[in-house]
Amino acid sequence: MNKEKKVYEMLDKVYDPELDQPLTELGFIDHIVIKEAQVEVVFRLPTYWCSPNFAYIMAEDIRKYVSEIEWVKEVKVNLLDHCASDEINQGTAEGKRFSESFSGLADGDLDELRRTFQIKAFYGRQEKFIKHLLSDGMSKKDITALSLEELHELDLSTEGQVLRDKYLEKKEALNHSSLVAITTPEEEALTEEELADYLLGAKRTRLSMEFNGIYCRGLLEARYNLPSINKVLQ
């Protein structure tokens, strides 16, 4: 496979944790430079002020995933036009932890923050998937009783399969071990009666991520004069 294509394929795995969307889709990757075994990934964000912690997570993940390619010996991450560009670029280059890069300004690392947003992404993906099952005619009772094995065997449309895979990815990220397919992020089972209220809460999280996604994309377009997806979809 072409080297550039391979790097982009790995970058597809890097998500903006607040938006639960890949950087490649969001337009956050400005460009990449490949010099033999060295890869430089240049990325940009919608504003100068985007939270440094989320930017750091993205930078760390870029480095982590691109480093997995077997011919890659060195990865340089270069965040442009950001209030903490220097700290983030140097920090990730040296493989520092967040608390070292921002010493005095942080009281720990990013694991908790990562987990908080894994949970939000879990809610968002799960809500979409359950809504899909409901519109497919599955009852609330059957949904809450579904085992993991049955979930894998469900006969789903292409869209349904994508939603299932995305949901399962988040279950895995949260290290779920329960054999029940549809649970809370803490792996508690849900009853048929509880499901409606639970879904309302999950929908709130999903919507919030979607609005933020639209805002971020719009600001990125305005900042870098990119073609507007807002106007196209209007």
Partner: protein
């Protein structure tokens, strides 16, 4: 005053406007440039084309432009200034209390001038707050939690320092606390947009009203959660309402979520002028109806009565404005508003 096609009058209070100076001459550093540029990107991305400003005008506009856009063209009977300091980024600060005050003096009964404070200014700031209350008779303050002070990149309302300031507000009768959550709050490894500290403050100070600007965006879900718990938490619609032009369906989802989780008495209209002009926001807001599927799902009411509350009545209640009496006073005002 906005008049509907059927002749009904809507009293409008724009609860979030500003007169700022983001000019090159006033910028101290790259942060000053980037701050106003970010505002401009919001403006550029979501305004209808006929309402787009040149960057130069956006950096600094004069009081006449503001009065014309907000009161004369913009239907607002009244508007509330929500200033911020940003003294690390701008030589004379971004907002200017005296400039706001001068407009309010010139156009009597039209403007409410809120103030601001920063809890990191310690005892000196507390004394200053008292003096300001005496000088300007502040009814409310706008807090920007991501403002920088020295090495600090922001604060939370749950910090002891902030609690002292809120106590002082309660003593002085500064009842309306408008909060804008921003991105860089220490410790930097936590979610700076998290609104949990407002939950804390709202339950510790039940006599104060906490108006969360931009309805907590980007944490709308967390905001809805605290607003259901704390009855003295309100939502300012600025920023969210701007979806009305490019993404009306998203606006429908936001407003129906808010009406579902809180209620129609705790949502306040704000344009965030000069980021957006109130004229188009109000026109689209009044005309807007929820798509049927969203209405079916949430079962909320979004009729003219609700719109009137959001556009003016709710803010009037927070600021002790008797709308009928105010209309009388404004009859004598030299500014004749567009649709009156």
């Amino acid at each position: 005053m906005y008049k509907t096609a059927s002749g009904e009058e809507i009293f409008v209070i724009d609860a979030h406007i500003a007169l700022w100076d983001g000019s090159k001459e006033n910028q101290l550093n790259i942060q000053g440039d980037q701050f106003i540029s970010c505002f401009y990107d919001y403006h550029k991305n979501l305004s209808p084309e006929e309402y787009l400003w040149e960057k130069e005008k956006f950096l600094k506009y004069d009081p006449e432009t503001l009065v014309n856009d907000v009161i004369v063209k913009g239907y607002a009977d009244m508007a509330i200034f929500q200033p911020v300091y940003l003294r690390e980024f701008y030589k004379n600060g971004f907002g200017d209390f005296d400039a706001n005050e001068a407009i309010a003096k010139q156009y009597q009964n039209r403007f409410i001038c809120n103030g601001t404070f920063d809890p990191r200014h310690g005892n000196r700031g507390l004394e200053e707050l008292e003096k300001m209350k005496e000088k300007y008779n502040w009814q409310g303050v706008k807090l920007y939690t991501a403002d920088w002070v020295g090495d600090s990149k922001g604060y939370k309302l749950s910090e002891p320092g902030a609690q002292r300031y809120l106590e002082k507000c309660q003593q002085l009768g500064i009842k309306n606390i408008h909060i804008h959550k921003g991105p860089t709050v220490t410790p930097l490894n936590r979610d700076a947009f998290d609104v949990a500290d407002i939950d804390d403050a709202a339950s510790s100070f039940p006599e104060l009203n906490f108006i969360v600007e931009h309805v907590g965006l980007p944490r709308l879900e967390d905001f809805c959660w605290i607003a259901t718990q704390e009855k003295n938490v309100y939502g300012g619609l600025a920023v969210a309402i701007s979806f009305l032009h490019t993404r009306p369906r998203y606006f429908a989802e936001i407003i129906s979520e808010l009406l579902y989780w809180m209620d129609e008495d705790r949502i306040l209209f704000g344009s965030d002028y000069a980021i957006w002009e109130p004229k188009w926001l109000i026109e689209k807001f009044v005309d807007f109806e929820l798509p049927e599927d969203i209405q079916q799902e949430t079962r909320v009411t979004f009729d003219l009565n609700v719109k009137k509350k959001i556009l003016g009545e709710n803010a009037a209640r927070l600021y002790n404005i008797d709308i009928e009496a105010q209309k009388e006073k404004l009859n004598k005002c030299q500014l004749v508003s567009h649709n009156a």
